[in-house]
């Protein structure tokens, strides 16, 4: 099964493990600007799409076109990592799964949890399967997000939807004693999963900061594709 093969190749599977992706409530992918938070979030989302589940991708930074491009690229990287997939088969599979992703692009100022709640309610109203994963990319964790996060927590409980965030850290800020950036430390109790991406020589290293059974696991990634780097 191509779907399973692709999931097994995913950097998300190799670090946190697919069962842990939707197993929790809040997850975070942390890194400094430009290291690959969104790309990694897309890889997390792709594992759900490949499991025939629905994904809601909310971006406060990218346009819809850009979100779609990121998914196309993420999928292409996964396909390339296998290396022997017939282009037509790959395209057919992508046609099949990409429709399970809904992208919503908000402005920073218009992001509102109630709108998402309305949208998720409509799934219930129409008796449709709910998305299992929501990605929120671009929330500014340097500001006070306690209200937004508590609204999202309620969403997580009411709809059983696991939410993964991108969280930007800064070069000049020291890590805490657990090795967490300050942004995660501020909301430590809310997050049960966290992956920290750092640059290591000419590679990207994914470090699992928080997780049930995989904490402290490390994996080297190709910085261009975010696929596991060849040893």
């Amino acid at each position: 099964m191509l779907k399973n093969d692709l999931i097994l190749k995913s950097p998300a599977e190799k670090t946190i493990g697919t069962k842990n992706i939707t197993g929790g409530q809040f997850g975070a992918v942390l890194s400094r600007a430009g290291v690959g938070k969104t790309g990694f979030l897309v890889q997390i989302a792709l594992t759900r799409l490949l499991s025939d589940e629905k994904v809601l991708h909310i971006s406060l930074a990218d346009t819809i076109e850009k979100i779609n491009i990121r998914y196309n690229e993420g999928y292409a990287s996964l396909i390339d990592s296998i290396g022997y997939v017939d282009a037509q088969v790959a395209e057919r599979l992508w046609d099949e799964i990409r429709h399970h992703k809904t992208g919503i692009a908000y402005n920073d100022s218009t992001f509102n949890v109630n709108k998402i709640r309305d949208y998720l309610n409509s799934f219930k109203g129409a008796d449709l399967p709910l998305p299992t994963l929501m990605v929120i990319d671009g929330l500014n964790f340097d500001t006070d997000l306690s209200e937004v996060l508590s609204d999202l927590k309620r969403l997580n409980q009411d709809f059983g939807i696991c939410i993964w965030f991108s969280m930007q850290s800064h070069r000049e800020e020291p890590l805490n004693q657990n090795g967490y950036p300050v942004q995660l430390e501020n909301y430590d109790e809310l997050f049960d999963k966290a992956v920290f991406l750092v640059t290591a020589e000419n590679k990207t290293q994914a470090i699992v900061l928080k997780d049930g059974d995989r904490a402290d696991q490390k994996l080297l990634l190709d910085p261009a594709t975010l696929m596991p780097a060849e040893e």
Partner: protein
């Protein structure tokens, strides 16, 4: 009539519904002295704008049919085609684009590039029509022409360059700054008819200088002289800039952007100047036809009045004096008394009365020369026909026409309505290639087919108003299709011996899914089926496709390979092989796992942000797939794909869910396999209908 073609412009005004293009056209006609009073669209005086020539258009405040009109500005002749904005009528837009040399793309300065602007833009690309943009409604709250210019770049990929800057926006919008002349323009008088030139206000001077520099930088790509002048720091003349803009525009490599407010009578005159300065004249455009006597070879038409005539009928209208046929003459000259040939049926036509239209008023002319648009009376033809001189046999290229996706049965209320309905249907089918009609022989119902619910509604309405034909309509029906999903063999012998000559034919081969609508491959060797019977086999197979064996929907996407067979020297005939092919098809079809395909529409909703969630919910409830939602200012744009069968009555539902603040466009996207539950539902309905018929 102006014969110097450099002083002729054939332009269209194209845009999203409600961008104000009808108002803009009205103003153009007013400033060019074609009308002497300004009416508003949906005006309080109840008259409606002049370009909305159909009653229905006046009532709905939308433009349905293209009205051609002629006006003159600065010694130039401008023929304007007002194109419809609603996506259901895109064939009309496409038909107008076919005959135009340039387009003014009207955009709303508040809502900017909307989904339909994207559709219209794609059509402009298809017909390679150069365009200039007019950012209208700068007087509205939230107006932001710079944002719209950027959207033109980001969303439509235009190399958009501002040639003007606004003097004030929203309720403070007073006029524009011309960045070529570096002057400010204000519009005075009751209807803004006096254009007053003044110095640029001091507070805007720096912005204007910066914008001019940016503009010159962008347009210098299209003129070496201008580049040289910049490098040598020589004087940059207006002519140099205008020449470069014109070159870039005609090459479709840049889109100059103008702005104003048609409704408030601001900056329409500079736009008219821009039409003349930057949009192409007929001589700038290469027009092609196919030489039907020479293997459909492409021939280039020349705007030469003395060459044999080639003219295209692009629009028909039924007036009080009979059929009015709008033509664009590409070569030669159509004159009163001429005899031309209709290239489609080779029938001779004699040109009687020739006119030039100004919306619903007409002016008689002696001739319509190459490069011009006119209309002829009393010629029986269809839209898209080519008229040529008797010594040539050219046809203009076929237009890209989409297949209808929705049908509706109509029943005349009485005998009189029956007669009028036939007349109306006859006219409509000639007028619009996307409107089709036929009689269902089983039910006896007349069926009309079109591109959407609104499309058909408008025709039903027109039947009533223009032809006095009251009709009752049935439920709209979706044009489902059947196809197969796997390969299946057939080996069928048709054998009959019931007195007289017998019938014998055997066919063997396989059917399989295909990307094409229908493919037939003959692999029979050794004369197992004599060559003369092969076409009969193909015909037999093809006959089965019109009505699928399971649910009687047309079968598409099928490839039939005939490999073997047998014949009888006496009993085989074309009829026998046709029957054998039918038998073979039926035998294989069931084994090939047939499925129902349903039309999926691309639905784009534009809604205020507060209704985004509920609009996305509406799509979810309709088996729709949301591809994305983007917030732009106060509005959200939701793109989705929804099965057509679930879109009936959507406009009412959307209105009530959003207090009438959201709008949507819908166009055919693709055919997709219907889910099992839906297929079962369709099959059940079909069975019920059959049972009812047999009662």
């Amino acid at each position: 009539m102006i014969r110097d073609l450099e002083r002729v412009r054939n332009i269209g005004i194209s845009a999203h519904i409600d961008s104000g293009k009808t108002t803009l056209t009205e103003r153009i006609l007013f400033y060019t002295n074609r009308i002497h009073k300004i009416n508003e669209v949906r005006g309080k005086d109840g008259t409606g704008a002049v370009m909305d020539s159909m009653e229905l258009e006046k009532e709905r405040g939308i433009t349905i049919a293209s009205a051609a009109t002629h006006c003159e500005w600065n010694n130039h002749a401008i023929n304007i085609i007002d194109t419809p904005g609603h996506v259901d009528f895109t064939v009309e837009v496409e038909r107008s684009l076919r005959v135009l040399d340039g387009v003014v793309l009207v955009l709303c300065s508040v809502s900017g590039v909307q989904s339909q602007s994207i559709t219209v833009d794609q059509q402009m690309k298809r017909y390679e029509v150069p365009c200039i943009a007019f950012v209208n409604k700068c007087d509205r709250s939230g107006a932001n022409p710079l944002k719209v210019c950027k959207q033109l770049r980001d969303k439509l990929g235009h190399n958009s360059v501002m040639l003007q800057l606004p003097i004030g926006l929203e309720d403070k919008h007073q006029g524009v700054i011309d960045l070529v002349k570096m002057k400010a323009y204000y519009f005075e008088g009751d209807n803004g008819e006096r254009m007053v030139e003044a110095d640029i206000p001091a507070e805007l001077k720096d912005d204007a200088e910066a914008a001019r520099e940016e503009m010159i930088d962008a347009v210098s790509l299209f003129s070496e002289e201008l580049t040289d002048a910049i490098l040598e720091e020589a004087e940059i003349t207006e002519e140099l800039i205008m020449g470069a803009v014109r070159t870039g525009t005609i090459r479709r490599e840049m889109t100059p952007v103008f702005l104003g407010s048609a409704y408030k009578n601001k900056a329409v005159q500079p736009l008219l100047n821009a039409v003349i300065n930057y949009l192409p004249c007929p001589l700038d455009i290469k027009n092609e036809a196919m030489d039907m006597d020479n293997n459909e070879e492409t021939v280039i038409l020349e705007s030469d009045f003395n060459k044999p005539t080639v003219a295209l009928a692009f629009k028909l209208e039924d007036g009080q004096y009979g059929q009015l046929t709008y033509i664009r003459v590409y070569q030669g000259c159509v004159s009163k008394g001429d005899t031309l040939i209709n290239a489609r049926d080779h029938k001779k036509v004699k040109i009687g009365r020739l006119i030039r239209m100004h919306s619903n008023q007409m002016e008689d002319v002696e001739a319509v020369p190459a490069g011009h648009i006119g209309a002829m009376f009393g010629i029986d033809c269809a839209s898209g026909d080519t008229f040529v001189s008797p010594n040539i046999n050219y046809s203009m290229l076929a237009m890209h026409v989409m297949e209808p996706v929705i049908s509706l049965s109509i029943t005349p209320k009485d005998n009189k309505a029956q007669i009028n309905m036939s007349k109306a249907l006859n006219r409509f089918t000639k007028e619009a290639p996307t409107f089709k009609t036929y009689v269902d022989h089983e039910t006896g119902d007349t069926i009309i087919q079109g591109m959407g619910e609104l499309h058909l509604e408008v025709y039903v309405e027109r039947m009533k108003r223009e032809y006095n034909a009251e009709v009752a309509t049935g439920q709209p029906r979706v044009a489902y299709r059947e196809t197969i999903t796997q390969r299946a063999p057939f080996n069928y012998t048709h054998k009959k011996q019931t007195g007289g000559a017998g019938q014998f034919g055997r066919v063997s081969g396989f059917i399989e899914p295909s990307e094409e609508e229908f493919e037939f491959v003959n692999k029979v060797t050794g004369g197992r089926i004599p060559t003369q019977y092969i076409p009969a086999c193909e015909k037999g197979f093809q006959a089965c496709l019109a009505k699928g064996p399971s649910l009687e929907f047309p079968v598409t996407g099928i490839k039939i390979t005939l490999e073997d067979g047998a014949y009888h020297a006496v009993d085989s005939s074309e009829m026998a092989f046709q029957a054998a092919a039918r038998g073979g098809f039926l035998e294989a079809y069931k084994k090939a796992k047939p499925v129902i395909m349903e039309p999926i529409m691309k639905v784009v909703i534009e809604t205020p942000n507060e209704f985004q969630g509920s609009c996305m919910g509406l799509i979810n409830q309709r088996r729709g797939i949301i591809q994305g939602s983007q917030e732009e200012g106060t509005m959200s744009v939701i793109e989705s794909q929804v099965p057509l069968s679930d879109m009936f009555g959507f406009s009412t539902i959307l209105r009530s869910a959003t207090q009438g603040k959201a709008q949507f466009t819908m166009e055919f996207s693709l055919y997709k396999q219907a889910p099992q539950s839906v297929a079962e539902e369709i099959a059940k309905k079909k069975a019920e209908e059959k049972a009812a018929k047999n009662k």
